[in-house]
């Protein structure tokens, strides 16, 4: 398996006796025909067609559905997720839209010695010169994820007090490495704790393909949506069945229903750097273009804004919100995160009348994740919310980030990224984001509404262990 996936995913691929070629169900049986792959309809076998077998290919989706390996073949990963695919879709005349994560922005900013704003503006120039239609910012859609998370937390908190089904601690859901690990190896006992809110990558995809396209006067199938992420695991997230939808076509009989994905392709920060090099562009001297304000957190004065917390600010935002809503406490200044056993495990709590009423944690990296999971399983986890991320140091240290310069240590780079991340970016409350308010007013109605649930929330599915993954060995 590629070293570039998060360590959490890599540890999931541990079957040393069964090489992928033997264990992989797909390679043995061949792929199901594409059309029947995701249909719920009863399948009718038509003899003449059934004979035609396509060449055996393993897609990321097949790998996700299997409990065996993830696959060692890097080529599998890149089928629909590569620079080539991205470039060819521009050539095909698709309306290519790009959503850039703030972590990728920081990675490029550190690499080029620019500010996040400069990077974003130059990326607009760079991508638009290639024919890209729009360049957006996932800090904007992340504010939707955060608002929905706040709302979900309040629901869970109140239900727990009245012994409901959705238990605490609520575990963050934005990290695809963690989700994949939870589904594949932890299974049903942990899944109810995981927030149902989609990640910023997917809330951006849902907003673009279900709503923004109409405002822009585009058909949804014209759009090719690419996100730029700090993490290879995001590629796996984008191909999840839960994030694929079909057009509601009232009249046309379902001939050739093309499934649409919220996110068509994911490029990593490092791949964007490769693209810049490929195009032989002097990035630092590129002009700075105006930002696409429709889905970018930029204010009237041209400043970027977003939440604190370089892994998405989930704990930070929900803690402040819950403190205010549940206990009437407005917390001034930075939250007092205390390091527990290492810098990747921190907690923050709220005391009211000498009693701890809220206890949140940040939990990054596989070993810390193990301890949270263990505590949840034996019912000894006293946190109300845990921001779980698979990578040590969180998302800024994602496997897709630009590698350290020669002579630069990984720790130095992380520190640099932490500084750059909020450089000239103002801190703003997601609930006051005018872009997001507009989306709720025009489309989603209220946080937690039926529409918000439909478009901004998802489900998790335990992966049943296949027999091949349980073969007896010593």
């Amino acid at each position: 398996m590629s070293e570039r996936f998060s360590a959490t995913l890599r540890i999931g691929d541990l079957n040393d006796f069964i090489a992928p070629s033997q264990a992989c169900i797909v390679s043995v049986k061949g792929l199901k025909p594409a059309s029947s792959a995701k249909s719920d309809k009863p399948e009718v076998a038509i003899a003449s067609r059934a004979v035609k077998t396509e060449p055996v290919k393993i897609s990321l989706k097949d790998c996700l559905a299997c409990s065996g390996c993830i696959t060692s073949a890097e080529t599998v990963m890149l089928e629909k997720q590569s620079l080539d695919e991205f470039l060819s879709n521009i050539d095909k005349g698709k309306a290519v839209m790009i959503s850039i994560s703030p972590q990728s922005r920081a990675s490029l900013a550190a690499h080029f010695g620019l500010s996040p704003l400069q990077v974003l503006r130059k990326l607009v120039t760079f991508f638009k010169s290639m024919g890209v239609k729009a360049v957006f910012d996932t800090s904007c859609s992340r504010d939707i994820s955060l608002i929905e998370s706040c709302n979900e937390f309040m629901m869970r908190y109140k239900q727990t007090k009245s012994k409901g089904d959705n238990p605490l601690p609520m575990l963050a859901s934005a990290c695809p490495g963690w989700i994949c690990y939870a589904e594949k190896t932890l299974g049903s006992y942990i899944l109810p704790y995981i927030s149902s809110v989609k990640s910023p990558q997917q809330t951006m995809g849902a907003a673009l393909k279900h709503h923004v396209c109409q405002i822009m006067g585009l058909r949804v199938d014209e759009i090719y949506h690419v996100s730029i992420m700090p993490c290879y695991d995001k590629k796996l997230e984008a191909v999840r069945d839960d994030f694929v939808f079909q057009l509601d076509s009232p009249n046309e009989a379902q001939l050739d229903v093309v499934p649409l994905a919220e996110v068509d392709s994911v490029l990593t920060s490092g791949e964007v750097l490769d693209l810049i090099k490929l195009k032989a562009v002097d990035f630092k001297s590129l002009e700075e273009s105006p930002l696409d304000k429709m889905m970018t957190n930029v204010d009237e004065d041209g400043h970027l804004y977003g939440v604190l917390g370089s892994s998405g600010g989930y704990a930070e935002t929900i803690f402040r919100y819950a403190a205010k809503e549940l206990f009437g406490r407005d917390i001034e200044g930075p939250l007092d995160f205390k390091i527990i056993r290492n810098s990747d495990f921190q907690e923050v709590s709220l005391e009211v009348d000498g009693k701890t009423v809220l206890k949140f944690a940040l939990c990054y990296g596989f070993r810390n994740l193990q301890n949270i999971v263990r505590k949840v399983k034996i019912n000894k986890c006293d946190y109300d919310f845990v921001e779980v991320m698979a990578c040590p140091s969180g998302c800024l240290n994602g496997g897709g980030q630009i590698k350290p310069e020669p002579g630069q240590s990984a720790k130095d780079l992380i520190q640099r990224l932490e500084t750059v991340y909020m450089d000239q970016v103002s801190v703003a409350d997601p609930f006051r984001n005018p872009l997001v308010r507009k989306l709720y007013d025009e489309w989603l109605e209220q946080p937690g509404s039926k529409k918000a649930k439909k478009y901004m929330h998802t489900e998790y599915h335990p992966v049943v262990k296949s027999i091949s993954s349980q073969l007896h060995n010593w």
Binding site: L14, R367, N368, N371, H472
Partner: protein, 349 residues
């Protein structure tokens, strides 16, 4: 070994029967068999159980004191007593490690450690009993911190081996962990002072190491020598600079001293170094062999000679050999034939 340079014989003290499948591993309780406490031994098996055996002080014969079952759902591959002898850790193919506490002669499962993706192959406590290491087929090595109240917290997940990890062993005096693997290497892991563990050395074919699966390793009492055994039919002895090691001045690397070959013609599954310097080995040829450092004063550095072998120690593969902690030269062996045997090595006068 100073005491006897002559011939030795191996006396079978008792055959312990009860397991209904192959026996994988045996472990002597370090707190028993001394100071008037009757000797105690744990064995684990493909029959999914762990048996605890105790020696009757008056008759000296061994009996099965407890059967720990209905916890592991597959083969129990490895067992290890904590230094205090209070806790027994058992690693199983069911991907879990169970912690059993001896409560007045009864064994209660007080904790289950999950996290390995599949088969756990080996468990080992450090010298102080504050850390527990496990390893397995998922190629990873885990370090657990032992907290009060039988709580365990994951301190590290080490990925470095490229194949199944067969055994983990802590250094007898320092918190340095050794692991050996199907990838033919021995890896040495140490903490960097920043709550992070790293591989500090890999002993592979390139530095005189094994050319096939390394199944087991063991240390001499001083902790400056290590013996390893392999599917390549050799036993290798390694050493480190003991003076430097004791000065605590950073990590001191290990180097290959000598290779014992030509003794086994089947895979060597187990080696164990006794307090007085006798190396016992158990192999797929059903035999147990004993080696000591040769005093011939060879110019090529230390060499080892075989002092005794029992070609038919068991009816099938010998999976584990373990010296007792007490004064006598007792050895326990576990075999595919489903039995555990207690032996005594006695000088022939």
């Amino acid at each position: 070994m100073e005491s006897h340079d002559g011939a030795w014989s191996l006396k079978e003290v008792q055959k312990l029967e009860g397991h209904t499948d192959r026996v994988w591993s045996v472990a002597w309780n370090p707190a028993a068999g001394v100071a008037g406490v009757p000797a105690m031994l744990a064995s684990c098996s493909g029959d999914k159980t762990v048996r605890v055996w105790e020696q009757n002080p008056s008759s000296s014969s061994w009996f099965c004191k407890a059967v720990l079952d209905e916890t592991h759902t597959r083969t129990v591959r490895s067992c290890a007593w904590s230094p205090s002898g209070k806790l027994l850790a058992t690693g199983s193919f069911d991907a879990t490690t169970a912690i059993w506490e001896n409560v007045g002669g009864d064994f209660e499962c007080v904790s289950t450690l999950e996290g390995h993706e599949n088969e756990v192959k080996s468990v080992c406590w450090n010298a102080s009993g504050s850390l527990l290491a496990t390893c397995g087929r998922d190629r990873s090595v885990w370090i657990w911190e032992v907290l009060p109240g039988n709580e365990f917290e994951c301190a590290s997940v080490l990925q470095g081996h490229t194949q199944d990890v067969k055994m983990v062993q802590w250094h007898p005096t320092m918190d340095i962990l050794f692991s050996c693997s199907y990838d033919n290497t021995i890896k040495i892991w140490a903490e960097d002072g920043d709550d992070d563990w790293h591989c500090v050395q890999t002993l592979s074919e390139a530095n005189g190491g094994h050319t096939s699966t390394v199944w087991a390793l063991s240390f001499n009492t001083a902790g400056d020598k290590m013996v390893t055994c392999s599917d390549d039919l050799t036993i290798k002895v390694w050493e480190t600079d003991s003076a430097k090691m004791m000065s605590g001045d950073g990590y001191v690397p290990w180097s290959h001293v000598c290779t014992l070959s030509g003794y086994h013609d089947r895979t060597i599954f187990s080696v164990h170094w006794s307090r007085e310097g006798i190396i016992a080995s158990g192999a797929a040829d059903d035999a147990i062999r004993f080696f000591v450092e040769s005093k011939d004063g060879s110019v090529d550095g230390p060499s080892y000679k075989m002092i005794l072998r029992n070609e038919k120690a068991h009816d099938m593969d010998v999976n584990s050999v373990r010296w007792s902690h007490g004064e006598n030269r007792f050895l326990a062996s576990a075999s595919d034939d489903g039995t555990v045997k207690i032996w005594e090595l006695v000088p022939v006068i």
